[in-house]
């Protein structure tokens, strides 16, 4: 659940002088909402641990970055209980903090990618992406030598791969260090974590899609409809900022599989790649594979001139 209007959040802000600045109109609005909700509660039966009570508390929670560790734990527990009540599944949502001295980086080997798209499939399954609209975080483009941008490539190929005389280029969120999407967000629902992952607080997103327009890399996806994931295919290991189940009107994107990478695992795409074209690791570790690639290979980034500083490099053997 998320606030219906941004004004709700300002009414309930934590500043000490909030009471003084609260106007008559705001007070009436709040009182009306309260009355309406209490009425509904009386009709549906509102026990403290029940579904309505949980939804009520979820409705008024803070932005993830303002939560204390205890509040994070509480919201995670509520979401787990709600998933049990709504869908009858036992999920585990983590609120794991970033690992110290880690800055994630990614490299993509253009010589090795053969366009098998196993990464795309693994990503869809791992991140509980909407099956109905066929949402995908990763796009693979088929390009001819000389083409350097996916804009001129074929992103909807469906034939036996690899085709002679073509190469394949994977595009996803590049987790820019100087991310334009973060600057565009009017509700501060998206930000860069200390380990370099650009994340979205789904419950704070109002669905304005400014970030989608600001991203020069086609990295963000919008839920036009309630996402549908078959119950038996839901990935149960989830993260608050990662693959937990979204609902309609929320923006989402690749999170380098935050639920996996913060545990030391590779993102699902890198783990699934059958040709080893995907390299993932810690940029601050001089012995890591990603640092080897950056040191010894010819690398480039897309639209480097924009100054967005993506942490995603392409390289050739």
């Amino acid at each position: 659940m998320k606030p219906l209007q941004p004004s709700c959040s300002t009414t309930l802000s934590e500043s000490p002088d909030a009471d003084k600045t609260r106007g008559r109109r705001d007070f009436l609005k709040g009182a009306l909402q309260l009355a309406a909700l209490c009425g509904t509660a009386a009709l549906t039966g509102c026990e403290p641990g029940g579904r309505f009570g949980l939804q009520w508390q979820e409705f008024f929670k803070k932005n993830y970055r303002l939560m204390t560790p205890l509040e994070k734990e509480a919201t995670v527990q509520r979401l787990e209980q709600l998933a049990k009540l709504r869908r009858g599944i036992d999920i585990h949502i983590s609120a794991a903090e970033p690992v110290k001295e880690v800055l994630f980086g990614y490299a993509f080997n253009l010589t090795r990618c053969e366009g098998f798209m196993e990464c795309v499939q693994a990503c869809v399954r791992e991140n509980n992406l909407d099956r109905k609209s066929k949402t995908q975080y990763i796009r693979i483009f088929e390009l001819e030598p000389g083409q350097m941008s996916p804009e001129s490539g074929n992103g909807q190929y469906f034939h036996e791969v690899p085709v002679n005389g073509h190469f394949y280029m994977g595009i996803q969120c590049f987790h820019c260090q100087n991310a334009p999407c973060v600057k565009a967000c009017p509700t501060k629902a998206t930000w860069m974590e200390p380990d370099g992952i650009v994340v979205v607080d789904y419950d704070w997103c109002i669905g304005c899609r400014y970030c989608m327009a600001a991203c020069p890399y086609w990295g963000r996806r919008f839920n036009w409809n309630e996402p549908y994931v078959p119950k038996e295919e839901i990935t149960l290991k989830q993260h608050y900022l990662g693959n937990r189940l979204r609902s309609r009107g929320m923006m989402e994107k690749c999170t380098f599989c935050i639920q996996r990478s913060r545990d030391g695992q590779l993102p699902a795409c890198a783990a699934a790649c059958p040709t080893g074209a995907r390299v993932f690791g810690n940029l601050l570790d001089p012995d890591s594979e990603i640092r080897f690639v950056l040191k010894h290979k010819k690398v480039f980034r897309l639209k480097e001139d924009l100054g967005t500083e993506p942490k995603f490099w392409f390289f050739v053997d």
């Binding site: 798209m117 890198a270 783990a271 080893g276 290979k297």
Partner: protein
């Protein structure tokens, strides 16, 4: 004439001095890197991995330490002998003549040798009579089958050096903790190492359609 050449010389000296000045200015103002590159280039010290202890418990059993290191760091690779279904070779190839009918077709008929392109390899490029259960390099060094990268690396030395650093090949499961990578023959069929054409696992819809 004399005047002309001295002007030329003066002009040349001025031009060189100007270029040197510009060079110095570029070094001075733009020599340092900015952004992400500066961030990671400053990080030169060894990283103390806080996840290593938890990951160590989840490592697969079928790994062996590679005889190479990168930056002095050891790494591990998948064993291969336990995946070769008819290992040991010397069970059949024990020096006596095999008398069973169609023995070669029955035992090794599934092998299609397509390695080397215009100069195809033969079985005996890699497999030797003696030793049977190991490989041998061209220099005559015996190689355990689990360390097959030493055999492949004789020709594919560029891929091998990339593999040691991490630009070729594939790390397994974890980016942190002990580094475990796939062996050459974990991914490549040694008898026909090029990946075969096949259908992609899925397909994409146009991006701009809701």
């Amino acid at each position: 004439m004399k005047n002309n050449s001295s002007y030329l010389r003066l002009g040349f000296i001025v031009a060189v001095a100007w270029m040197a000045l510009i060079g110095l200015a570029i070094d001075g103002f733009c020599g340092h890197e900015e952004g992400v590159k500066a961030l990671f280039q400053q990080a030169m010290g060894p990283w103390h991995d806080p996840l290593a202890a938890t990951i160590a418990g989840a490592l697969p059993a079928d790994i062996t330490q590679v005889h190479e290191t990168y930056n002095g760091r050891p790494f591990w690779t998948q064993t291969r002998k336990d995946k070769v279904t008819r290992f040991k070779c010397s069970q059949c190839h024990d020096g006596r003549t095999v008398t069973a009918e169609n023995a070669a077709a029955v035992a090794h008929g599934d092998i299609v040798l397509d390695h080397g392109g215009a100069k195809p390899l033969s079985c005996f490029t890699c497999h030797k009579d003696n030793p049977r259960d190991q490989f041998e390099t061209e220099k005559g060094v015996t190689i355990d089958m689990d360390h097959v990268y030493e055999l492949c690396g004789q020709c594919h030395f560029r891929q091998k050096s990339d593999w040691i650093g991490g630009a070729h090949g594939k790390r397994l499961d974890h980016w942190a903790g002990q580094r475990v990578v796939a062996n050459c023959t974990s991914c490549h069929n040694p008898h026909s190492p090029v990946f075969k054409k096949r259908w992609p696992a899925t397909y994409s819809l146009p991006l701009d359609e809701p």
